[in-house]
């Protein structure tokens, strides 16, 4: 099950025409899909659209009632290929993934789809993971739209516009026989807002209808000569049809006064930021009234030349607000104006930085710089010539830079991946540093403190593949880490199969935590949970052996650091040829606790015997070296200062958030650190036997302690 349940929220998906919907952006997108009579939905999870997949999974019953097929795809390529259903059949389909990484994976299918063209509306909802909080390379989905001639919508970030945009996308797709991409930035996906709903619509033609009445049209297949014809079709028919639709349906919007010497052309997604910056400059209010003309591109590809020319005519200069690079819009707009013979200046990157997110400050600075240069008379005096004291070097900033801690993402409390990397660190301390390739997933946190393990990440499931070149005679072997998510996504073939075929001697550690954990705990093939709509419990080891690996070790409790270490050492030294695969399995603690904690609490309430382990540190045994933390980084393992004049350094301490995973004790043992750790098994509602034994032991131990206290000098702080 996913990390977050939307069971309650999806009830809103059932509301009918005229009722007000309130909720998150992705939930609104789901509602919009239902209102559009979508026939099938598929996708692959990943921020910022993970919740969209979770919402869809939780809404399966509602969709099934409407005859909609939902599928959690094996990868983005699978999701994109799913849209093939709209090539020959009049079925509306939608797919979703994280972009640009997901679009990279999907682009083979997307390019074929775009060449074939579609009969039913095909919409790709891409979560643009760009700027703050992003975990991927900073690129734009825009390039994919241009290269395959897929239309790109970038709606204003409010729920009404986003919902309307989904509707527009299907119609535009059908009007121009072209798939359409709908780009949502991370904050828009998680935006809480409201809109007035419509009734849900059953798809007029379902996937079941298609199975009953199969169709084929060779003209739609990407094979010569049809593929040559497709390219001409795109230019001669589909593009003009799209432009006509965009123009007639006024998908792009113009705000503000009709006249004015300067204006702004912006991506729809930038609209709220632009209005706020204009507000700060005294040129707009929060109801969207602006004294500067705005041309809002809710469709950023293709551009409508005559609309652009009409907006720019009579203007001296126009600012382009286009986040990210290359500056495709800037380039295209310049060309349009040149072709139209207009002298209007286009400024984009210049007032704005070429690279990086358009944060509130960047937006204000960019628009401010443009107006100061092109139309200073518009600006109020306080903005044009602010009465600010000369900037002084800020001592405070220096102190903050030094004292406010760096907080990289890290493994959660009790994470089963922590002991894997603790073991790797121990092995490397012992036999030297190795070439280590990382992958995408929670395990990538190994590259950060305190583990500092791993050098590259080449893409989801591509950890082992990225070690391919290191297939040479040497005294050391390469190590690759890959998650179970990446393994099923493509790693089984791209990494493991490839290593078997090329007789690679390297070691691969497959981190099997029972879920696609980093994206929010979605189920995958090897998940252990029984999922009523999916087939799970397919062991990774079986798949690995199936493609021909002979040396496979499955460790079913990663917290056994000693065993982890020894197994890895064996893999690095065994004379056996071919790839060595270690499947390191333990359940994601976040999900395990979510599942078990309520059950445990209820059991305690019901008076049942419940054992809860947690760890602690004997503060008088701990010497404050923090070696244990350098092999852990667990949030519940911290340091505290003792009230003791003889001590300089803080000692280790474990707080009540400890889930008793055992890593501390195992590491202290395996690394021979120190005897400070103890595990306390707290037994609630002890049995009569527990109580009797405890009393007996207490009596004997108490007697021994009193005996010693009568002789030996000792001190204690009175309780």
């Amino acid at each position: 099950m996913a990390e977050r349940s939307f069971a309650k929220e999806v009830e809103q998906l059932k509301i009918g025409a005229g009722q007000e919907f309130r909720g998150e952006g992705i939930l609104a997108v789901t509602k919009a899909l239902l209102q559009c009579g979508v026939g099938y939905v598929a996708g692959y999870q990943g921020a910022p659209i993970s919740h969209l997949m979770d919402v869809l999974a939780d809404a399966q019953d509602i969709m099934a009632e409407l005859g909609i097929h939902f599928e959690a795809s094996a990868s983005e390529a699978t999701a994109a290929a799913t849209l093939a259903a709209s090539v020959h059949y009049p079925i509306r389909g939608a797919v979703t993934w994280k972009s640009t990484v997901g679009t990279n994976v999907a682009s083979d299918a997307l390019a074929n789809l775009a060449s074939s063209g579609v009969k039913g509306g095909a919409v790709i909802i891409v979560g643009e993971d760009y700027g703050e909080g992003s975990s991927i390379m900073q690129e734009r989905s825009h390039a994919f739209a241009m290269k395959s001639q897929i239309w790109l919508l970038d709606p204003r970030p409010n729920l009404e516009s986003i919902v309307k945009s989904v509707e527009d996308a299907f119609e535009l797709s059908e009007a121009s026989n072209t798939p359409v991409m709908l780009e949502l930035r991370i904050r828009a996906c998680h935006l809480h807002g409201r809109f007035i709903a419509k009734d849900n619509k059953r798809p007029p033609f379902t996937v079941a209808d298609a199975l009953e009445h199969p169709q084929r049209d060779t003209a739609r297949i990407v094979l010569p000569p049809a593929s040559y014809a497709h390219e001409h079709e795109k230019i001669d028919f589909r593009l003009p049809a799209a432009l006509k639709f965009i123009r007639e349906r006024k998908l792009n919007e113009v705000f503000g006064p009709a006249d004015g010497k300067v204006g702004i052309i912006l991506q729809g997604g930038m609209y709220n930021g632009v209005i706020r910056a204009l507000g700060q400059l005294g040129l707009a209010d929060i109801w969207g009234n602006t004294s500067l003309p705005l041309y809002v591109l809710n469709v950023t590809y293709p551009l409508v030349d005559d609309e652009v020319a009409a907006f720019c005519r009579d203007k001296d200069a126009v600012l382009v607000v286009e986040e990210g690079q290359p500056d495709y819009l800037d380039q295209a707009l310049s060309k349009i104006l040149r072709n139209a013979g207009l002298p209007t200046r286009i400024l984009g990157k210049g007032p704005f930085p070429m690279a990086g997110e358009y944060t509130a400050k960047v937006m204000l600075d960019g628009i401010g710089a443009f107006l100061r240069r092109e139309a200073p008379a518009l600006l109020p005096d306080r903005v044009r010539a602010p009465n600010l004291p000369a900037a002084q070097p800020d001592e405070d900033a220096k102190i903050l830079a030094k004292e406010v801690p760096f907080r990289p993402a890290g493994f959660c409390t009790g994470c089963p991946e922590r002991p894997i990397f603790a073991a790797m660190k121990l092995v490397q301390n012992d036999v030297g540093e190795h070439q280590v390739a990382s992958d995408i997933g929670c395990h990538l946190f190994s590259i950060l403190p305190p583990f500092n393990i791993g050098g590259t990440t080449m893409g989801y499931g591509l950890g082992p593949a990225s070690n391919s070149a290191f297939n040479a005679k040497a005294s050391k072997r390469s190590i690759a880490v890959m998650g179970d998510g990446g393994f099923w996504h493509n790693g089984l073939t791209s990494g493991i199969g490839n290593a078997v075929f090329n007789q690679h001697d390297g070691v691969t550690i497959v981190v099997d935590n029972y879920y696609s954990a980093a994206t929010g705990g979605q189920d995958i093939l090897s998940s252990r949970a029984s999922n009523k709509s999916r087939s799970t419990r397919h062991p990774i080891e079986k798949a690995v052996r199936g493609v021909g690996v002979n040396w496979v070790r499955t460790i079913d409790r990663t917290y056994d650091v000693g065993k982890m270490r020894d197994t890895l050492k064996e893999a690095l030294t065994t004379p056996e040829k071919g790839p060595k695969v270690i499947v390191a399995s333990s359940e994601c603690m976040l999900n395990k606790q979510r599942r078990e904690r309520p059950i445990r609490q209820q059991a305690v309430k019901d008076g049942k015997r419940v054992v809860r382990p947690r760890f602690g540190v004997d503060e008088d045994v701990c010497t404050g070296d923090h070696a244990c933390i350098r092999l852990s980084g667990c949030p519940s393992l911290s340091v505290k200062k003792l009230d003791d004049p003889l001590r300089d350094d803080p000692v280790a301490a474990i707080d009540n958030s400890c889930v008793g995973c055992g890593n501390c004790g195992e590491v202290a043992d395996a690394a021979i650190l120190c005897p400070s750790f103890y595990r306390a098994d707290i037994i609630s509602n002890p049995s009569r036997r527990d109580r009797l034994l405890a009393r007996l032991r207490g009596a004997v131990i108490g007697w021994l302690q009193r005996r010693r206290a009568a002789r030996q000098l000792s001190f204690a702080v009175a309780g």
């Binding site: 703050e132 929060i286 801690p405 993402a409 037994i683 002890p686 302690q705 000792s714």
Partner: protein, 510 residues
């Protein structure tokens, strides 16, 4: 455009650490605003930062008058009315991001610390200066409310979202009646009672006033008291305490008393007298070299570090500490044992041949250590992780027996090794005192580098030796003490001593 001034939304930024539940607070704020008939927009950037990284939630709200406002999706510098920081340093981060302005921003922060990973991994003390950050926040904000809201939440079996929500309600920064805050929590269902209690605690803390900017004097330390000992031991100890009053200058007495207690607790009263003898020797030297004018710094530091050196961490010490009644009491308190709960305790021990030999009579231990094959055999027999139950009679007895070896300790190999190290260390300081008093003090302080067990300890000893290896270059320099201090601090920055290597190279170029 005057409408703009009138139509400004209330803007709220929540800064939290992934896993703290900032999303809960943000959901409550949405519910609260809508409950009061306001239009609210909320955004967040979850992603990977959810896993222990710094996260931010942003809300804008405005009375709803039938038309949709255009609200911003991220906080703009100088444009935030309320900053809620779920941890003290996160309030500092808000200032760094320009979200706190003196004409506008109310900061509500929890004073507790959740340490960043680099604060925790430093071999020395890497904890950031929270006081300095809090002072800056207070200077930069229009209004600052700081309380330990984490503690209030825990005391009520709830989460920090609830106590923060209470603090916000009581601050009056939002124009909503308190009852609607409580309705919001109630509508959440599960855990509402605990949340309401934490909410009330947070509200009450704020109603009683802000925490003073400067912490009151720390409450007096609770001095350890005698918890055991024969009449004779106690008498001998009292005599040692009397010696401190008689022999040591006033400024040394407090630390010497702490040191005396520490070594006597480690061994016995006689060992305490040995400690005082050594201290007295150092004091004589100190006096002879003008120490009085320097507050007897040499004796002062010796009192502290000699106590730590003499009370080294051997098997006997660990067994002793693990079997004391005060330990069982402390653990029960720490893990919060209630009612009839029963606790089982498991220890993680990993003895090696070194520890076995160290616990043998010095002669025998050395004899074995000279025979590598025998050492390996012992290692094979003993070197393995032992997870033992100290609440069981059997393993308690084993540790109890080990602790009982205390009476032979001063004849064992480990003691001889430690004594030799102490002797060299003190002699080095003594030799330097007439030449370079300040440098001698720093030599004493370098003992801080030696701590931990097994490999960690060896690394510490190696660092100690490497730091002191610079002495020949520093002895004659007036700023030698400064350099030695820098070397020591560098040695405490990282595990492998990379910073120390750099610092040593610098010293070599002096």
């Amino acid at each position: 455009m005057n409408a703009l001034v009138r139509d400004r939304p209330i803007t709220i930024a929540i800064l939290a650490i992934g896993g703290q539940g900032g999303g809960v607070l943000s959901d409550w704020l949405i519910d609260l605003a809508e409950r009061n008939g306001w239009y609210v927009q909320e955004t967040s950037v979850p992603g990977v930062a959810q896993r222990t990284g710094a996260t931010i939630y942003y809300l804008e709200m405005i009375p709803f008058a039938g038309k949709m406002p255009v609200l911003a999706m991220m906080p703009a510098p100088g444009d935030v009315d309320i900053v809620i920081a779920a941890e003290l340093m996160e309030a500092g981060r808000a200032v760094q991001r320009g979200l706190v302005s003196p004409d506008r921003t109310t900061v509500i922060a929890s004073s507790h610390r959740a340490l960043g990973i680099l604060e925790k991994t430093a071999p020395g003390d890497g904890v950031g200066n929270a006081g300095a950050v809090e002072a800056i926040v207070r200077r930069k904000a229009k209004r600052t409310i700081v309380h330990d809201l984490q503690r209030l939440a825990e005391a009520n079996n709830s989460v920090i979202s609830a106590s923060l929500f209470g603090a916000l309600a009581a601050s009056g920064a939002l124009p909503f009646p308190r009852a609607t805050f409580e309705e919001t929590i109630r509508s959440g269902g599960r855990g509402a009672e605990a949340s309401l209690a934490a909410f009330a605690a947070g509200a009450e803390a704020v109603a009683l006033g802000d925490r003073p900017a400067v912490e009151p004097e720390p409450r007096p330390r609770r001095e350890p008291r005698i918890a055991g000992g024969s009449a004779w031991q106690r008498r001998e100890f009292d005599r040692a305490v009397q010696r401190i009053a008689d022999e040591l200058p006033a400024e040394i007495r407090a630390i010497a008393t702490a040191g005396l207690r520490h070594v006597a607790d480690f061994q016995d009263a006689a060992y305490g007298h040995l400690y005082l003898d050594r201290l007295a020797g150092m004091l004589t030297l100190d006096r002879a070299n003008g120490g009085a004018a320097k507050g007897f710094a040499l004796t002062m530091e010796t009192a502290k570090y000699l106590a730590n050196a003499m009370a080294y961490d051997d098997v006997i010490r660990v067994a002793d500490l693990k079997t004391r009644p005060s330990r069982f009491a402390r653990i029960s308190g720490e893990i919060g044992i209630t009612g009839d709960q029963v606790v089982h305790l498991t220890e993680f021990m990993h003895p090696r041949a070194e520890e076995i030999c160290g616990t043998m009579p010095a002669g025998l231990g050395r004899w074995i250590e000279r025979r590598p094959r025998l050492v390996r055999a012992i290692d094979r027999a003993f070197n393995k992780g032992r997870h033992v139950r100290t609440d069981s009679v059997r393993w308690f007895l084993v540790l109890y027996g080990l602790a009982g070896l205390k009476r032979f300790r001063r004849r064992l190999l480990r003691h001889a090794v430690e004594e030799a190290h102490i002797a060299t260390w003190l002699a080095t300081a003594a030799r330097l005192t007439p030449l370079n008093y300040d440098l001698a003090v720093e030599v004493i302080r370098c003992r801080r580098l030696i701590k931990g067990y097994s490999d960690t300890r060896s690394r510490g000893e190696a660092k100690f030796d490497r730091v002191l290896s610079a002495l020949p270059l520093l002895e004659a320099r007036a700023d030698g003490a400064d350099w030695l201090r820098r070397l020591r601090e560098a040695a405490l920055l990282d595990e492998k001593g990379v910073q120390l290597d750099g610092a040593l190279k610098t010293v070599a170029t002096l």
